[in-house]
Symmetry: C2
Subunit: 270 residues, 2 copies
């Protein structure tokens, strides 16, 4: 087992947090990426206790963000306030990284929306730093620019991150979101010292849906070893999360999905 | 009526080519973007005759390409041979521009797939130039990188175009594909003298589908006047195609769709 494998718990969506933590421990997976909705079902204190009991560490907490003022369904949100809560939660769970999905376009002004993101990160970075949490700016695939993220490339996320101390703000490299980018190798190299997470999965061909078009590594055209090598050449030696949004996987038992995840990781990423 | 408006005939998909050409003439639209499947139904000679009779000019012919060897459904194709035929057809129709959709990834090697595209363009550019046809490299949205186009950005298309005379190879700026790009303003400026077409539409929010997620200008978050100004600052003064893939529009009569297209263009693009 590659000691860097981390299960992002969205991959085993049918599992509760206690089931996912116990499942990781039993399978020998030492890391887990948590989601706030799953943490809320269990409670932060109980989640922290379970993690400690099973010796599973948190690679990241998903997620803060939505700084442009709207959620994907169009309802208003105070992203900065919500992200402060998420930072506190990450600290309580021992998650060194809080993933940020920065929010989609407000109105039709991309430049102003991106500036709101930069301003919010500036407001939150010291708060996160004081609590030992690093903000992980995750560029999302351009097909989510309108609804979820006006940051679409690693280069763009890095330009915001470098305005702050490296221990406060980094970038997340998620294969699904950036594999197509003709500048990805250069962008990853430029992000040396700033990579706060590396997420792997594959892309379904044909792409059935903007959100659920993911698959386990090896079931699509992404060259995982190429991207892993780039990330490692940039100095990233932390956990590697397998994060798959896939309706078929979600319909199946968590234990079976985790076993397949481990196999896919060993064959295509390790 | 803005004399630069062109109807890309996919927008009025329920119309045959004769209906679309007559419809444009009747509505005072002086340009049309044609698709090869529609041309084939009518025949090239008859299509050319109808265009002349109605005084409608062809802004572009869709499409050549698929140089990476596979079509979106996975079947093999000789993209270079097929594109030679398309160049001949464009010349016969008086289309100054042939749009190229270059093809998706072959296997899992993006760099090699992109090299195949560059090689194919090099092979075809003189052939096109001899026939008075300019090849228009159209970057497609990154969500189509696997299936249809390993060119995802204007910058990337331009890097291939500049290897050839400007009258032989240019780039197509299609809003749907590039509106999200944080480098789009710089890329358009760099493409001065190389812009072979400007296509407008909007993006549906939420995005329902990778292919049919388009709408008429004004029904989404794209800032059309901003992008039009950028394209014009780069010297492009040619026709502006409205190109909308939308299941609802396609189910309705062509005449009604064209009337709405004209209104949307006047309100949001002109």
């Amino acid at each position: 087992m590659d000691p860097r494998l981390s299960l992002n718990q969205i991959t085993t969506k049918s599992w509760s947090l206690p089931e996912a933590v116990a499942g990781c421990a039993q399978a020998g997976v030492g890391w887990i990426g948590l989601w706030r909705d799953k943490v809320a079902e269990t409670g932060v204190d109980e989640a922290a206790r379970l993690l400690k009991e099973h010796g599973v560490r948190v690679s990241s907490l998903c997620r803060g963000g939505f700084f442009t003022g709207v959620t994907p369904d169009g309802s208003p949100v105070d992203g900065v306030a919500r992200t402060r809560e998420a930072i506190d939660e990450a600290a309580a769970l021992g998650a060194g990284v809080l993933v940020l999905v920065v929010g989609g376009i407000a109105g039709n002004d991309l430049a102003a929306s991106r500036q709101r993101v930069a301003d919010a990160v500036g407001e939150l970075a010291p708060y996160a730093g004081e609590r030992g949490v690093r903000l992980g700016l995750e560029p999302l695939h351009p097909m989510q620019c309108a609804e979820r993220s006006v940051l679409s490339t690693v280069e763009q996320a890095l330009a915001i991150a470098v305005e702050h101390p490296a221990e406060q703000v980094g970038v997340i490299v998620d294969e699904f979101h950036v594999w197509w980018d003709p500048r990805i190798e250069d962008a990853i190299a430029a992000a040396a010292g700033r990579i706060a997470g590396f997420h792997v999965c594959d892309v379904l061909v044909p792409l059935p849906d903007p959100l659920l078009g993911r698959a386990l590594p090896g079931d699509g055209p992404i060259d995982h070893r190429h991207l892993r090598a780039a990330v490692e050449a940039a100095g990233y030696t932390g956990p590697i999360e397998v994060e798959v949004f896939n309706a078929d996987l979600w319909s199946r038992p968590g234990g079976a999905v985790l076993a397949e995840t481990i196999t896919a990781f060993e064959q295509h990423v390790a």
